[in-house]
Amino acid sequence: MTARFADFVERNARARGTPLRFGFPPYPVMGMSRDVLRRYIEGADPITSKPLMQEVIDALTAPLTEREKHPTIVRKPRRPRWLAPDTEENLYRKFVESGWTDGLPIVLPTEKRVAEMLTGTDHAPDEIVGQMIITTHQEKMEYTVEKVAAIAVMAGARPEHFPVILALAASQEPSMPSSTTSWGRMMVVNGPIRNEIGMNCGTAALSPFNLANSVIGRAWTLMSINFGDARAGENFMATFGHNSNYNNMCFGENEELSDFEPFHVQKGFRPDESVVSLFRGWNVLNFGLGPAKEMAHVIATFGSMGTSITFVVDPLVAKNLRAEGFKTKQDACKWIVENSKVPAGHYWEGQMQSGFAAGLAKQGIEPFASWAKLPKDAPIAPRHSPEDINILVVGGETNPMWITTDFTYTRSVSIDKWRPKCGIRRDAQPLRMPAPVTCKDGTCGIPVATPSTEPVTAAN
């Protein structure tokens, strides 16, 4: 194990009751020359300053200690349901300084506010929703409907948003899975609930102009921080992190303007069901323009460890794809895969491929093993299956452009299970940010001058 992760693996092994003996060469190993690796092995462990190979030999031959003979599992202490009463200022400080927030202001989850949030579902407060971890090396935290309600309050959500947030919690997927590679996430909502709770599926849907998009996406990350017990450097090891972690690119699919089947219907749900679908990846290339041929060209040269691509397209792009002759998203995806080939030599020159896919090829895992045997000029399609390509339609038809991501679809979760039987619980006066301005009557949102309005005259 390299030295960069020394404390991580030691802690992990101790906590799991599985003591192991480690020696730590310097970091990194990837991309180092054989000379450097030899010096690592012949040199000292940077953690202990002892010769690395002497440590390795000692690890195999030194008698076991009592702790190694009789290991124990270290569990977190159980804590009470409520914090000790305190002033709002002190409690806010406690939340921030304990690492329970995303750094932005939160709403404190008081008894009254949590009780109000719970009116957003019929499910019992003590019902177990799931368990979440951000690495497989940690203790899973179990959470109830009430706990999810506390997170929803912290995120600034209203009871009408709660069914979507519960569906996210039921996915048990963290918004921030820990990886040195810095994962990002994306979530798209389909079905009637988008309009019932006022989500933005149109102009600027991925920007901060809509309460539902903002607080739902944020709640997923507050869940991951708290239920997943995320702590940077301790169990969250992303080298840069990912800016999408703040809100997880939360939006609704623009089913009304799309010429294609909604995404959740592609996944087997009825059109009248409300569903949240989740994606995970790294890269977001925020501007693409042109027909399917251009989409194929972009993904052929898009370096990534993954094999998936998710296009986020304006409704105008969906219309253009239809005009090109693609009757479904799947037709377009199939054509794009078949027309995004690159020479095998070019593929294997990429750092992502030499670092990850080459290892899979050595193990005989397909298609990488076959690709590794091809001549350099043999064409291969790095995205080898149409199922690896997704198309999501969102936006306000102000530009026929698309975003290219290497995000993989992971799961869709039904929201309807969490809806109250009496319908979405709205405030008497639902809280809404201004909707994107759409000119329907020629005024373009500009107040019409009345007789009492002083005319504006040009300055001399």
């Binding site: 194990m1 390299t2 906590a15 009751g17 599985t18 060469p25 190993v29 990837m30 991309g31 054989r34 030899r38 690592y40 092995i41 190979m53 030999i57 195999l60 031959t61 030194a62 008698p63 076991l64 003979k69 290991p71 124990t72 599992i73 569990r75 977190k76 159980r78 804590r79 009470p80 349901r81 409520w82 914090l83 002033t87 709002e88 409690l91 404190l108 008081t110 799931g130 979440m132 971890i133 497989t136 090396h137 203790e139 899973k140 179990e142 706990k147 506390a150 997170i151 996915s171 048990q172 997927e173 708290n226 030499s354 670092g355 990850f356 899979l360 050595k362 193990q363 992971t410 799961r411």
Partner: protein
């Protein structure tokens, strides 16, 4: 409830319950490590270490490459170090099947049946 200017709020970390994840099965998709529904649940039992060897002379040591980028080359160098410095130790360099995240019970069985005395897994991270 607010009393004397003080609030009572839910502890977002209150009442944790503990279940540990573990390795993936050999046939698992590598990315299944990130899928909560593929992570086995159940109680983890403490596991003590195997008895240590008195010395490595004449012993067979498996060098298991785990699949992280650069680890194959590192383990090759490790094998060469043993050849140069401890030639009486027999080393066997093997890839762990699948990726760094998956289990390889066939390899562990092979090591037991072939008389392996010890194993070094590397290099992680």
């Amino acid at each position: 409830m607010e009393q004397n200017g003080k609030l009572t709020v839910l502890d977002p970390h209150g009442q944790p319950t503990g279940i540990f994840g573990r390795r993936l099965e050999a046939q698992s998709n590598p990315r299944a490590i990130l899928d909560p529904f593929e992570q086995p649940s159940g109680e983890l039992k403490p596991m003590s270490m195997a008895p240590r060897l008195a010395a490595l002379n004449g012993k067979t040591v498996y060098l298991v490459e785990t699949g992280f980028a650069g680890s194959f080359e590192f383990m090759q160098e490790l094998q060469e170090w043993f050849a140069r410095n401890m030639p009486t130790v027999k080393t066997v360099l093997r890839h762990k099947r699948g990726t760094m995240f998956t289990d390889d019970p066939e390899l562990w069985a092979e090591m037991k049946s072939s008389g392996a005395d010890a194993a070094i897994l590397g290099v992680g991270g």
